[in-house]
Every structure is written in structure tokens, then in C-alpha cells.
Amino acid sequence: MLSLIVFLPLAAALALAALPRLGDAAARWAWVGVAAVDLALVVVVWLQYESPATGELALEEQAEWIPGVNSSYHLGVDGLSLPLIAMTGVIFLACAVYALRETDRPRLQAALFLFLQSVSMGLFVAADLILFFLFFDLSIVGMYFVIAGWGRQGAGRSALKFFLYTFLGSLALLAGFIGLYVAADPHTFDMVALTEQTPLAGSSLAGGLVLAAILFGLAVKTPTVPFHTWLPPAHTDAPAVGSAVLAGVLLKMGTYGFVRIAMPMLPEAWRGWAWVMIAVGVVSVIYGALVSLAQENLKRMIAYTSVNHMGYIVLAVGAAGLVAGDTAEARSVAVTGAVTQMVSHGIITAALFLLAGVLHDRAATYDMAAYGGLAAPAPRFAALFAVGAFASLGLPGLSGFIAEFQVFTGSIAAAPVTAVALLGILVTAALFLRALQGILTGETRGSSVGFTDLRPAELWSVGSLLLLSLLIGVLPRPLLEVIEPAARAVVELVGR
């Protein structure tokens, strides 16, 4: 089942690439169809899913692959990965619907995004480090072509920067993986086995070095301050659907690595590095929010809020490493918040980037000062943008609150000093209200004049993402019931 979810989009991508005669409309709808089927398969998996025991995975599939280094084709899901593959399916479907209006080589674009979907799904269900690394690198390659091929004029430079920077990170990650392999006895790349073994336990120097390599690799991808500078140009130059996937799905590969690899496999080193992670998290939260506040380009602004939002996750997983007797409950609340934040940030930011794409589509600029009073010609855009902005600033009733409330309360209970990160929700509130005011309200002026409101494809794609955020915000139980056991397991594993 998991293999089907992973490789169905790839098969469709190959088919699309191999059929040059296929019409544009057929290609666009084929993309929507495949993305919908893949999402339906994820829903089936969700319904079948039962939480596995600590350190184990559900719905496992395993086949021999590279026996020489004990690396196998091993897939499985748990409460950390299942919400993320669901989110991935939703975001790719929303992008497919949004791209129904794409005119620039739609067949190739569909093929490329289906390839990216396979890669993303594969990463989140991979239970073998080599497999994980393979998907990690392929995601970079795929996104490079999205930015370079469909981005704005001169996007090549940003694409290259993105590629080189994140590729450098992936090399560090590989070095860390090899360190784990070498330290494991018997040598293996299998995640389940490594989690059980916790190689490098007791050797603080080697453990610290391996963790440092892995953390650097993940921190670049996440990204956290100070490794985030590839993000704003990549987003500014990427097409709307590219930005949505980059921010919504690809960034999560970094944060997912923390809870899937770094914490359970190197618990001792993680505990030693917990305060570093907390510091990086707090700095990312406040720095990201403040820099975002100063932006005049809407896409750069949203990009920097991603740094802020990823900071909450880093903060929470850092706080989870502060093992003390009576805070286990609080720490698992923090980790639950972190995983919820991955899902929530994915759908909200994807929605915001798609909306930013509408601005560029109509008026060819992301400059906020070029707009004003947009609510008059485009009430539907205004309504969705306002909901998206409030969701992103963590308004209760929407998914961001469920995530951030748990991140904050869990982290504060584990380490009271983390309360300083609450400044982040004030600054994000200020910057989003400022953006709302600047773009939507006042007299209709500049590029707002004659602005065409959302078209059905745009409305449906963005609207359903925000509706999902509302659902999670009001009825979080179905999601939290999957995440909570996994979060408790992570806390238990990191406490070993």
C-alpha cells in the first residue's frame, strides 16, 4: 500500500513524460486525477492505521535492496509520518487544482510535480537511511528544476543557490548517516534497528560529531537561523505552486528528520545539545518574525514567517531534550505541538503562497506598496487572504493555534525561559495585520485597480486548504489522536 502511494505519482510522471502528444488539458487533469487518487490512498491508510508500539512502525514493507551494507527497501508509518503524508497529499492536490490554469508547458510541469510528490511521500515513509537520503536529494533536484524552469526571469541564480546550499546540507547529512552506520553493530542503515540500538551511546565526542553533521544537514533544509538565507530568494523566484510545495512539504523534511532520526537514534547527544536547539529555536522565532516585519515584498515576508514558524518546532524538540523526572507529560505536549505545527504550517503557508501567486498573476508584482484597497475589486481574495493571515498568526479556531499553544505550554513547562518566544506571536500578528491593511484596505489604488477576483481553480485550491486548517483548529482530535502516541514515544526514546 505504501509503495503504491509512493510510486503511483512516479509512474504517472513517467507516463506523462513519455507521451509528448498528450494535450495540455489532458495533462493538467491527469495530474489532478493522480493526486486525488494518491490522497484517497492515504485516507485508506489513515483508516487502517493503528498506533504501533514505541520504536516500531505500522504497515511495514521490506525488500532486499543493497544487502552489502545492510540497507533495505523498508517503508512504514507511525504518528509522526502519517500526518505528514496526508498533508503532502493535500498540498499536491491543491497545487494540481491551482495549476489547472497553467499555460507554460503544463505536461512537463505535471510530470515534474508528480515526481516531487513521489519523492516527498517516499521520504516520509522511508525506514532506511539510504532510502531517506535518496529521496532527500531527489527532492532538491526536483525543486531545482521547478524554480529554474518555471520561475521568474533570472530564477536560475536563486535556483542554483537553493540547490548548492541544500545539497551541501545533504552531504553533511550523509556524513552523519555513515557515522551512524559505522558505529552500529552490526552495521546497518535500517532506521528501526538504529533506533533500537542507539549507536554511539556512551561516546559523547563521536555522538556529538555525528549529531552535529545531521543537525547541520537538517537545519539547512528546515531552515533555521543562520542557515536560512537561501529561502527568501528561492521563494521570490519560484512559481506559486513551487513555493507552496517548497514551504509546505520540503521544509518539513528537515523538521521531520529531527523527530525521526536525530532524537530517537542519538538520544544522549540530543540531550546534550538540547539547549543549543532551544537557543536556535528561540532566535529563529524572534529573528524570523522581526525580519519578516521589515519586508516589503509579500513573498519574502511569508518566507521569513516560515523561519519563524519552523523556529517553534525547533524550540519544542529542543525542550523535549531537557529530560527531567516530572516533565515527561509537558515534553510530549511540546512534541505533539511540533508535529501539529509541521502539518499546520504546511497547509497554511501553501495557501498563502498560492494567494501570493494570484497577485503575481494579475499584476506581476509582489510589492505590497503597489496594492491597496484590494478588498473592493477582489472580495474573495480578501476574505481568503485574511483567513490565511489569521491562521498563520496563530488565531484560535484555526490549526496554527492548536500547534503553537501546545508548543508554548509544553516548552514553558519544561524550560520557563522559552516564554520569551511568545514575542513571536505578537510580531507575526503585527506583520500580518500590517500586510492585510496595506494590501486589502484603504482606497483602491495602484495595481488593485481592475484586479480580477479569484477564479474557481484558485478559490477551490486555496479555500480547501484553509477549510482544512479550520477543521483542525476546531476539531483537532482525529489528528492529535494519531500524533500523541508517537510524540510520547519520541519523548520516551529521547529519555533513554
Binding site: 516533565t327 505550554t409 484603504g442
Partner: protein, 641 residues
């Protein structure tokens, strides 16, 4: 059954409001929203009588829990009925974008009702912040005008700053091991209890527009009058006070928190009361007086006088909603809310004038109207606690009479012909007036006036006893002497205001300069820091990355040059050298090797010639040679052995 009523009470306005606002159903908005508000009102009475508790699992082991107890049984119907009356009024007054307005009002009302009924901290925080967000949208309802949207932004950001207190409190409750049920918070472990109390206190003060957060309420007057009537009298601001009343056991348990709360409330009542006296704009005067009157509620929370505080909250809600609606009616009719333009307005629209007068006298503390009795219930508790607190509260009460009197004097003032031009110059200065007050606007005022007149009963015997018992307390009652003195003082101050104009100092007009101070101390430094960090991010951090990339590039260029100049030329030099070696060796080959070979051949030939010599073909010579070789062989054998 009762549980269903409670769910319906909060869900009905939320869902209907959401649908109205999202789909902009302008035509159906009035009918749908008024029937929804009516149903909500009925449901609020049902739950107030049946006191249900309901819950569903929410997050982190805590429930989304609602429940009605004695306190919320008083406040929930107040919120629901003021919402209904305000919606009726607004149907007569606002005709554009009714779907959005009424939808947002219902959403707000739902959030306010959840706040009132919340039993756990996550539930409370959820509703609390949704109230803030809808208030942003309602204050900025006329979004084409920037200053109104800015006012909404200010309101949301200021109250959210205070809301951070609730996030901290939630973290403290989790750490303190008491869980998130509001009823259990007071039993949190000792250290965390202080953090909890501080967080709750800040959040309550922010929403209740107490010092130092009061300024947002001044800006919020940019919103439509019905919005002010609901948000800034009966709901949002009032619920700031409500939170502190509900959390009174926690404040008391924390020790320092209760007296701090009481003093902040008293000082707000006094200082913002003075601000109210200094206002020249009717809505600004009412806003400041709201902040000041909530000061009494906050004071009650700090003094443990929950029944007095709750009664004051409810009585004030009716009184102030009425005054805001009256000011709104005049603004619509005359196009101004400047006091200078409202002279004699009560004589023009009698019903509006008389109901506003009832509310004004209640606000002034004139017996036997509502706020006279409720405020004295709070002051009685203050007198038991500290004389200083009582004195400040008493002075604040006298100021209420002054600002209420200022308004009453203006609206009843008979304009002499000489001043008519001056008054009329203010007409239509803010918006075109309609010169008309309709029946939809008048009807709600009558109902509210009844409340403003009689709700003092909530603290007076015999109803007061029942209320206090239901809340589980035995509050000190204001003695007859205290009640009489306060009534007399109110009348005296009213007379004074009627006799002489009140002073309007600049610090009062600018609300103690709090807005400017916030701009100077918080907003501008933050924006400056943000700009500097953005510069740092672009110029320093990013250039480190691009710099190291270009360093890598230049290193590789140098490597390429090394490759070209050194390695490659090395290879070439090597090949040249080997060529030369080859050449030299070829000459050497000719000269030496070949010569050596030929020399060897010549020598061998000579040897050959030499070797041919013994081969003479003569047998005797061969024998001699054989003997010689044998002799040499024997000799060798002998010597070597």
C-alpha cells in the same frame, strides 16, 4: 437536553454568523441574524436556569468544556440580550454590507458566550482571542478609511499583547501540575501559582482596558456605534473584568495578586475617570467612562467581592450599551459626535433623550438607579480592606458623576439663538446626517433603560442576598449611610457640573499620552529593530553565504589557474624534458650505445679470430690443448678443495 441547549447557544451564532460573513448574504442578514440572536437569548435563559456542563476532548489531555454556574448565569444572558438589542438597532442604522456586519457580530457574540462559559484554559483562550480578532474586523468595519483599520489593528495588537499572559499562564498550569480546568488553577504548586496569577491578571487588564492598556479603547471608537455598544460595554471589555472575577480564588491564593488587582482597578477608575471628564467627543467620553467603570469591577475582583463586581458588570453593560446606541443614533442623525454639536439634542428626539438620561443618571450614581447600588457594593468591600482604596474609589465615583453630568448637561442644554450657529457648524462634520431616528433604533433603548434603572436590585436585599448566596459568599453590604452619602455626593457633583464648565486638561484629552508613549517606547523601536535586522540578514548573513560561495569560486579559479599554469605546464615541461632526453638519448644512442655494440662486435670478432687459431686441424696440437685444460682442471680441483 440542557447540555444541547448550551452547545446550541454557542454554536448557533457561530455557524450562522460564519455563513453570513463568508457568503455576504446581505439581504437575508437582518432577519436571519435577529432570529438567531433571539434564539440565542432564549437558550441563554434556559442554560442559566438549568446550569448544564458539557465537554468534548480537545488537546493535551484537556477538554473543550463549557458550563454555567451562578456567575456565568448572570453574565451569559446579559451578553445574549445586549447582542439582540444591538442587532435590532443596527438594522435601523447600517444598511451597507449587513451580511458582513451581522455575521461578524454573531461570531463575536458566540466567542463572548464561550468565554463566559469556558471551564478550561484552552477553551477560554480560544474564545478570548477569537473575540479579539472579530473585534479587529468590526472596529475596522469601514475598511476604506485607513484610520479605522488602524484602530482595529491597535485594538487587536494591544489586547493580544496582554493575551500572552494567558499563554504563559497555561504553561505555568501545565508545569504546576494542576491541569487546565479553571476551577483547579488556584491549587497549582506554590511557585507556578504566582506566574499563573500574573498571566491571568495581565490578560484581564488588557481586555478590560485598564491601565496601562486603556488607550486601545480610545482608538476603538472609530468603529460603528453598534459595535461599540456590544464590544465596549457588554462584551469584550466587560469580559476582561469577568475573567478576573472568575479567577478571584487564584488571585487571592497568590497573595500579592489580589491587592494589586484592586489597586489597578481603583487607579484606573480614578485616572481614566478624569480622562473621561476631559473629553470633547461623546464616544470618547463614553469609552473612557467604560474603562473607568470596569475599574470598579476589577477592584471587586481584587477584593473578593464577586457578587458586587458581577452586578456592577451587568448593570454597566445595560447602561453603557444604551449610551453608546444613543450616541450612535445622534451621530447618524446629526453627523457629529462632538459634544459641541450635540447641545440640546435630547429635546429634539425625546425618547432617545430620556432613555439616555436614565442611563446617564445611573452612570452618575444617582439613587435609586442601577450603578448607584452596584458601585456602592464594591466600595463597601473596599472600606473593609483599606481606607486608602476606599478613598480612591470614592473619588472615582464622584468623577463618574462629573463625566455623566457633563454629557447630560450638553444634551439638555437649551441652545440660545446666539450660539445656534456655533452648534450647527458641527453638524455633518464627520458624516452626512440623516436628520432621522427610526423606530428600530428607539425600541432597543427602552429595554436597555429598564435595565439601567432597576439592575441595582442585584446587590440590594432581597435579590442581592440570593445572588451572593448563589455565588457562595457573604459580602459586606453598604450601610444605609454609605448609600445615602454616595447618592448625595452624586447629586452635588451633578449640580456643580451644571453650574460651572468642567476643566479639560490636555493630558486628559490625550488619554494620559499612553498611545504616544506606546508608539515611542514599543512600536517605533520594534520597527527600527526589524529594519536593522532585515539589513543585517541581507547584507551580512546572506553575504557571508554568497561570500563563501564566491570564495569557493575564486579558490576554484585559482585552482584552475594552478591547473593551467603549474600542473599543465609541468606536464608540458615534463614532456618537453622527456623529448629532450629522447633527443639526447638518440644522439647517445648513435654515439655510445651503437658504438658500444659495434665495439663489442669488433671485440667479439677479434675473439673469434683468436678462437679460430687453435683450430688448426692438426691432431697433436689438439692433444696438447686437451692435456693443458685437464692439467688446469686438476690444478683447480686440488687448490679449491
Amino acid at each position: 437536553m440542557a447540555g444541547t441547549a448550551l452547545w446550541l447557544m454557542v454554536l448557533l451564532p457561530a455557524v450562522v454568523g460564519g455563513v453570513l460573513a463568508v457568503f455576504r448574504l446581505d439581504r437575508a442578514a437582518v432577519a436571519v441574524s435577529i432570529s438567531t440572536a433571539t434564539a440565542t437569548g432564549v437558550l441563554s435563559v434556559v442554560v442559566a436556569l438549568t446550569r448544564p456542563v458539557v465537554s468534548v476532548p480537545f488537546m493535551a489531555g484537556s477538554d473543550f468544556a463549557l458550563g454555567i454556574d451562578a456567575l456565568s448565569a448572570l453574565v451569559a444572558p446579559t451578553v445574549a440580550f445586549v447582542t439582540l438589542l444591538v442587532l435590532i438597532f443596527s438594522a435601523g442604522e447600517i444598511h451597507a454590507s449587513q451580511g458582513r456586519l451581522n455575521g461578524l457580530m454573531l461570531l463575536f457574540a458566540s466567542a463572548a458566550l464561550v468565554t463566559v462559559a469556558a471551564q478550561t484554559l484552552p477553551t477560554l483562550l480560544l474564545a478570548w482571542e477569537v473575540m479579539g480578532a472579530t473585534s479587529f474586523a468590526l472596529i475596522g468595519f469601514w475598511w476604506r478609511e485607513d484610520r479605522r483599520v488602524s484602530a482595529g489593528v491597535t485594538a487587536f495588537l494591544t489586547t493580544r499583547t496582554a493575551d500572552v499572559g494567558l499563554y504563559v499562564a497555561a504553561g505555568a498550569a501545565l508545569a504546576g501540575g494542576a491541569g487546565w480546568a479553571l476551577a483547579d488553577l488556584a491549587s497549582t504548586s506554590a511557585g507556578w501559582r504566582h506566574v499563573l496569577a500574573a498571566g491571568v491578571l495581565v490578560a484581564g487588564l488588557g481586555k478590560a482596558a485598564q491601565l496601562p492598556f486603556s488607550f486601545w479603547l480610545s482608538r476603538a471608537m472609530e468603529g460603528p456605534s453598534p459595535v461599540s455598544a456590544l464590544l465596549h460595554s457588554a462584551a469584550m471589555v466587560a469580559l476582561g473584568g469577568y475573567l478576573l472575577l472568575r479567577m478571584e480564588p487564584l488571585l487571592t491564593a497568590a497573595g500579592w495578586a489580589a491587592p494589586t488587582t484592586a489597586w489597578i482597578g481603583a487607579l484606573t477608575a480614578l485616572m481614566v475617570g478624569a480622562v473621561a471628564v476631559g473629553q470633547r467627543d461623546a464616544k470618547q467620553l463614553l469609552a473612557a467612562s467604560t474603562s473607568a467603570q470596569l475599574g470598579f469591577v476589577v477592584m471587586a475582583a481584587g477584593l473578593g467581592a464577586v457578587s458586587g463586581g458581577a452586578a456592577h458588570l451587568v448593570a454597566h453593560a445595560f447602561t453603557k450599551a444604551l449610551l453608546f446606541l444613543a450616541a450612535g443614533a445622534w451621530l447618524t442623525a446629526l453627523g457629529t459626535k462632538q459634544l459641541a454639536g450635540l447641545h440640546g439634542v435630547a429635546r429634539r428626539w425625546r425618547l432617545v433623550g430620556w432613555t439616555a438620561t436614565v442611563a446617564g443618571l445611573s452612570l452618575a450614581g444617582v439613587a435609586p438607579l442601577a450603578l448607584w447600588a452596584t458601585k456602592d457594593a464594591v466600595l463597601a468591600a473596599a472600606l473593609e480592606e483599606s481606607l486608602g482604596l476606599y478613598a480612591v474609589g470614592f473619588a472615582a465615583a464622584a468623577l463618574s458623576a462629573a463625566y455623566a453630568g457633563k454629557l447630560l448637561v450638553v444634551i439638555w442644554h437649551r441652545v440660545p439663538d446666539s450660539a445656534r450657529v456655533e452648534v450647527e457648524s458641527h453638524l455633518d462634520e464627520e458624516q452626512p446626517g440623516t436628520g432621522h431616528v427610526g423606530v428600530l433604533e428607539k425600541a432597543p433603548l427602552l429595554v436597555l433603560a429598564v435595565g439601567a434603572a432597576v439592575l441595582g436590585l442585584l446587590t440590594l436585599p432581597p435579590v442581592g442576598e440570593t445572588v451572593a448566596q448563589a455565588l457562595g459568599e457573604q459580602p459586606p453590604h453598604a450601610s444605609l449611610v454609605e448609600l445615602l452619602i454616595s447618592a448625595v455626593v452624586a447629586l452635588l457633583v451633578l449640580g456643580l457640573v451644571w453650574w460651572r464648565p468642567v476643566p479639560e486638561p490636555r493630558w486628559a484629552l490625550t488619554w494620559l499620552g499612553l498611545d504616544h508613549a506606546t508608539q515611542a517606547v514599543v512600536v517605533r523601536p520594534t520597527l527600527g529593530l526589524a529594519a536593522r535586522l532585515a539589513w543585517f540578514d541581507d547584507r551580512v548573513l546572506d553575504s557571508v553565504v554568497t561570500g563563501s560561495a564566491s570564495t569557493a569560486l575564486s579558490v576554484s579559479r585559482r585552482a584552475a589557474r594552478f591547473d593551467d599554469r603549474v600542473l599543465d605546464s609541468g606536464v608540458e615541461a615534463t614532456s618537453r624534458a622527456s623529448l629532450r632526453v629522447a633527443e639526447r638519448s638518440s644522439t647517445g644512442d648513435d654515439r655510445w650505445v651503437d658504438g658500444a655494440v659495434e665495439g663489442l662486435a669488433t671485440w667479439l670478432r677479434g675473439l673469434g679470430r683468436l678462437a679460430r687459431r687453435p683450430q688448426t686441424g692438426q691432431l697433436h696440437q689438439y692433444y696438447i690443448q686437451a692435456v693443458a685444460v685437464l692439467a688446469i682442471g686438476v690444478l683447480l680441483l686440488v687448490t679449491v678443495r
